[in-house]
Symmetry: D3
Subunit: 198 residues, 6 copies
């Protein structure tokens, strides 16, 4: 995790050293490093505020790791589509990698980020993303008709909660990353693009 | 907390009964009820998902109850100004009450909600809200110049983090409340308006 | 009507003294003072230009005091909803008071101002406000289909004229109040909120 | 004023016959007909509501016929620029004719309507139209800096009132004309374009 | 083509003299001058870059002079409506002249430029312009439903290509003219307005 | 160039077979195939209209292959940034590949596409893209100040023409690709991402 002097900053705020972090925060970071092979910069950037770090990742896990009607790759598609609308560098790159990995479709993340209406997705996924974008961009207009459209595509109301909550949570994440100049790790860009690679 | 049949729903999702909630969630709700005299509906609405409830309020507390360069009333002013931009019924009404109570200015919350540029606030508070609105509405354009403007008004960079994080967190809250049709308690509307009242 | 030195200005333009005004303008102001118990600031601010004052209030009365398919409280709801879209401090506060007084619903004005789509209103009133907002924000797109929607809710075409004309008139009023920094009287904020108060 | 059957309607509302109108309204219409050679349709369309007609034209005259720092042609330029932003068919065509006639510049009205930033106008007129457009499109942001810019170009604060009030009044007029499908008279289109013509 | 000193510039870039141009470019300009009686300024302004000149006018001719389901006047209506949305001084004035000449309707171009929804056009032409404006302003949302609407009005898919391609080509032209401060010839303003004139 | 039945369509319009194309169009396509190793779909999609094909690629070459103050990779950066603003699937993917190849920076294209303000570019390139985006999104506001900003960064006025013309040309291309559902070749997505690959 030591950085060579030339590396561009990953946040406009101070980035703590691992050894200075509270034990639980450090443990979480070590765990993700062991799993991913590197520490995604969002962990280091948010560790500047341990209490906010804990709440943020607890919320993240509650929404992204749970079982339910939405697949893991579909949850990440929501992140990519709404983060692209918010022009969030970090989230589009990092979660685009997860879309590719989970869906095993190397082209899908770029398609969803650029214009999800033209992406290779099912009508059900299109309805999911239409709703997510409405939550992200004009939630004040959400009403019964939106839930009816989701039900027509087989989504339960609990799934609708998930879609809205993911769009809302990453709306927060996008604003933090944009405001803090959070930089995605270089590793994310290529992940899931080349078949034999992880 | 029992509701008369005529009361309008406080969420489009099921609202759990207190006795069915995990102990820590129930304890948190009982504590706020004892302090405020009633249970703000956001606690009941989000208790439908205990894990998300815990993360949400932990994040809330980390941002809104901490010490720092921003006063408690100023933090609430950020909530009201950004929630008005997102047209969030729940947050404008509930946090408008807190602006009145903390600032002891019965007119301030309405002014900030309608057009913060015309509100009775200091130039420092104006800069704070200008930044908060930029984070809320076009965070992709945030850059060094925004932090420079805040410093000119005496804000530290940690204060800037607070402003951005509050705007971002309530951007999430606004989207949840709008999507779930969360209804503010009637009690909030009058709170802090009449001198001798609490 | 004399002001203590500390009172914030009610307009960025000179505010005439009552005794310097033409007789008919003064009479109108005295009459409203006797009825309301205070002089709403818009009367003093616009009295700087007596001819414009006369036309403005004649137009106001023609639209707001007439009989017709719209109730007095409904007319004020149109004012509040469109003035909130234009972020007009004066009109939202002053006419919000009238919504509360006429409709005898202390919560309604805030609901309509923040997001009329979530307010406690009837489907008929929702259609009325949808049309008013379309006139306020994108009148170039108004067409037969808008009038058909109103008719479905029982509005006559004369009612439609009223809705459009109120939205248009207060669109003017909002722009004047915003440009002149017109300040609403403190009295309006609490009016109609507490049951036993007037 | 009788219309051949083929003539397209001038309003979606009933248009009264001259002989059915109150005496003062009819007199006003006859006067304008004698001066212009035809009755501009806005007089007939608004005569459907005599009280609103009286207030509207009294307001119009107070703003457009008064002496002051703005020339008659400049006042009409404000109307054309703001009405074009509101896409108001009636006002752009009718007041475009007046710009040509008063300014004796046959190209000016079209330039102002299409993109006033590229029109053959003075820096002073550019500042005037910049302010008028701000009042028309985002009056909630008007502040001291706008008045300072106008003063730099030699405008008094009373001139600033005029600019704002004209932009606001025709903002109302645009919304009425758009909502009522008001049709400009054919005569306006050519007026002032050909040198020897009136 | 020599210009008197007082003439305003027709481009912010150097305008070549006819005699300095490559033979084919000069021939094209001479031909249009013989036909129209003057040289439209776009020819002179773009001749600064002969290769771009050739491609631009070849593309123009391929779209505007071809046979097909769209009439010549209808093609020009697309240009006027989309150029008005882009506020392009040159294209609205020059192609407005062509609408008047081809359609022999002296009022039509102004109507289409100000608000095509209120213009004297057929339902078929309304659908054509609705699609053209969608291509011009939010092409990312174009989908099958747009083509279905066009087919309902009798347009073939090849006609749809034409509409989209004209809107796209003049979207380019608008951006060039706006960026280069291209000025329309005075001759265009009156063309087609007076019956006996050409 | 034969397609397996399962391949998704590359255009909503008929795609001609190479052997049915005019000789010059076919020769151009064969040449690009020999150079790139595959035929970019835009060549096949536009070949449906040979005259438009010829003009389009002549224009493309005049702007993208010329010498001048802008590097080849910089020209492609303009394409990617403006095409992302227009949400054009084809252009972001295809020209993103060219950015990576010409600039030899595998991360740059994604950065520019998501939010060019946060990309690893020089201040000069930032000014170039700011101007390109202004041309793409609000060319009606371009004025002298934009050219002054470019000159401050060392751009000549001819460079400014190039930037504007590239933004305008690809604004056309984006609208065509979006309207025709043009699909980028799978090959583009990975190109330039892996060091040893071409």
């Amino acid at each position: 995790m030591s950085q060579t002097p030339a590396a561009p900053p990953i946040s406009r705020f101070p980035v703590p050293r691992l050894e200075d972090l509270p034990e639980d925060v450090r443990a979480r970071i070590v765990a993700v490093q062991e799993k991913a092979g590197f520490v995604p910069n969002v962990f280091l950037a948010l560790a500047h505020r341990p209490d906010e770090f804990r709440a943020f990742f607890a919320h993240h896990d509650a929404l992204m790791l749970k079982e339910g009607g939405l697949g893991k790759g579909e949850r990440e598609m929501i992140v990519v589509a709404t983060s692209a609308a918010n022009q969030c560098h970090y989230c589009v790159v990092a979660h685009g990698a997860l879309v590719r990995v989970y869906e095993k479709k190397p082209l899908l993340a770029d398609q969803v980020a650029i214009n999800y209406r033209k992406a290779d997705i099912s009508p059900r996924q299109r309805a999911m993303l239409d709703f997510a974008l409405k939550v992200a961009l004009r939630s004040q207009e959400v009403d019964d008709s939106d839930f009816a459209l989701l039900r027509q595509q087989g989504f339960s109301d609990e799934d609708a909660w998930d879609i809205a909550a993911i769009a809302a949570f990453f709306g927060m994440s996008n604003r933090l990353a944009n405001s803090f100049d959070m930089r995605p790790n270089d590793e994310f860009y290529l992940m899931g693009r080349v078949p034999r690679q992880k």
